[in-house]
Symmetry: none
Subunit: 195 residues, 4 copies
């Protein structure tokens, strides 16, 4: 049955997520992934072409899931202020989740400089993030809360602030400072887009 195979693939990707987060993109072995998934060594190779294939699916999945969550969170709000808050609260969801994701995401960004497939997956993520920003910005302009601004460029700037702040937070290695970085990022975005 197809369904069962899909479940297995999910199980392996989930295990790979944890494994890469713990050990790093290049350090992680297929044995690690198999161990985390509680399956035997050959299984990841049975469900995926090779190691890179596992990891590419992992990248695609986590970026997609993050986008879905962010989109949902923003759609629930009506005012631009709440939308932005919801967006950043979803991005900065919590120290544990953020650490896990950004450990993996940073690894992928580093790899992406030499790997076209990863760049393409990331490109889609960027597009999705941009579409979220656009919704917020349009609403803000409609309300007169935000200054006139190019959606494209503002989307990039917001993305830059988020990634930049998140990296800086990661480099502190301190979970306690998570909320402070979230707040600072929020203030900075607001300063940037407000009139």
């Amino acid at each position: 049955m197809k369904r069962k195979a899909e479940l297995k693939r999910q199980q392996i990707i989930k295990a790979a997520y944890q494994a890469v987060s713990d050990k790093g993109y290049e350090s992680v072995t297929l044995q690690d992934i198999a161990d985390y998934a509680d399956v035997s060594k050959g299984v990841p190779n049975y469900y995926f072409q090779n190691k890179e294939d596992v990891l590419a699916h992992l990248l695609a999945q986590i970026t997609d899931r993050i986008y879905e969550k962010e989109k949902l969170a923003v759609e629930r709000e009506t005012t631009s202020a709440n939308m932005l808050l919801a967006y950043l609260n979803t991005v900065f969801v919590g120290p544990k989740e953020n650490e896990k994701f950004y450990r993996v995401y940073l690894d992928f960004l580093a790899q992406a400089t030499k790997n076209k497939r990863y760049r393409e997956i990331n490109e889609r993520f960027y597009q999705n993030c941009s579409s979220i920003s656009k919704v917020i910005l349009e609403q803000g302009k409609k309300e007169g809360a935000f200054r006139t601004i190019d959606n494209e460029e503002a989307g990039r700037t917001i993305r830059a602030m988020i990634d930049g702040y998140m990296i800086q937070w990661m480099m502190t290695g301190d979970h306690m400072q998570h909320s402070a970085y979230r707040a600072a990022c929020y203030r900075s975005v607001l300063s940037y887009i407000q009139n």
Copy 2:
């Protein structure tokens, strides 16, 4: 003689820079580094404790050098506007240099999430970047060109924008767009710090 040894270490670090930029942090081998340095295989191990030691010295050196250049460029200017321009022009020095540096730097950031030594080296880099931002911001406030703003936080925000924009540029894989990203980053920083 100490001097000669130091020269050799420099030679190896320089070779490592090129090697890591070409092959990536995890893919690079000591053999690669030795080849780029035109020395025999045992030399890197002779002058450094091990592979990681070579790479840590590399990270420390390139971040230091970048800071020196940026500092110098900003010090040459007198107005906040020119200072900021000089800063960003030095950061976005050119597609070739930026690609080389950010390939390596991204690799290090990815590693740093699991390597304290790298985090510490990066922390010093952050401090240095912050000190540059501070000089510019103070001057801008003195001129009344910038709004009242927390230096610490603004420094982080500027750093975030720089890294964030640079990563996005890297992901395009397109050297031609370098100046467009530099300009966008400049506009964004300005929007953020101006009143």
Copy 3:
């Protein structure tokens, strides 16, 4: 029902023949064989003890079939000259078939040096070939066309010439030269057995 099982075994052996010819004795996998037979992966293991068992049956079958054909061809003729011609024309049946067979047969000969079962199967093939030669030689002697000669030894010599020439033809890798090698082999055999 027994009959159905036998058909399935035939199907698998036939597929194995093509598979081994294409991929080589050691490179071929049970998955390959299953694919060529258009059955699922477990089937070869279901109808045969293991991989070697499949291949041993394959060797037995192809050598038997070749013998049958050669025997039939020779029996159709009445003069020793025609018999020999018929024999060699059947052996050198054509570049495509010969390549397919000798690829597999050479693999088996190579294996046979370490595998008794294969040696035994080949021994039977040798006996059969010898019996064909014997028929031709006896007829030739009766006609006074061939010199007095030990059937046993002449049979071996003819077999040696056939295999030897076929190997040399295989090593040319050139289908076009097939008929030249057949002619040369024929001339050589004739020179050897004629007075």
Copy 4:
């Protein structure tokens, strides 16, 4: 020093010869070869590009050495009869050596059907064997001992007889019959080339 490296390569090739003879071309592992050479696992890969490279050098070496020996043996004789005897005595040097060589050689012939590099090495061997036959045949014709015959074709026929007989002897698996097969091969060649 270059000399030492060459000795090491010889040591590995020699070990590979024994290993392939014992285990077979495809079954043999680099670990086997390392073990036979009494070196560590990585050494064969240090001195050769990969496994195939080791084996190709092995094939080239053993065929070259055999040719040298045969050539030398034939050159020592003056009459065509003695030359032929010397040739075949050198070819059928003894059961132990012949078994070792033909186990490996048969493996290579089997591989050669799919491997161009092996075919080329074997082609050179064929050329060399042909040149030996030519010397003998010319001498025989000069003496009037052999019939008029095409050197090229006769060379192929002799090679075919040698390989064919040797294979048949190998298939007996019986060292005792070695001299009988040698004698039979000699008689057959003689019958073929004599008037």
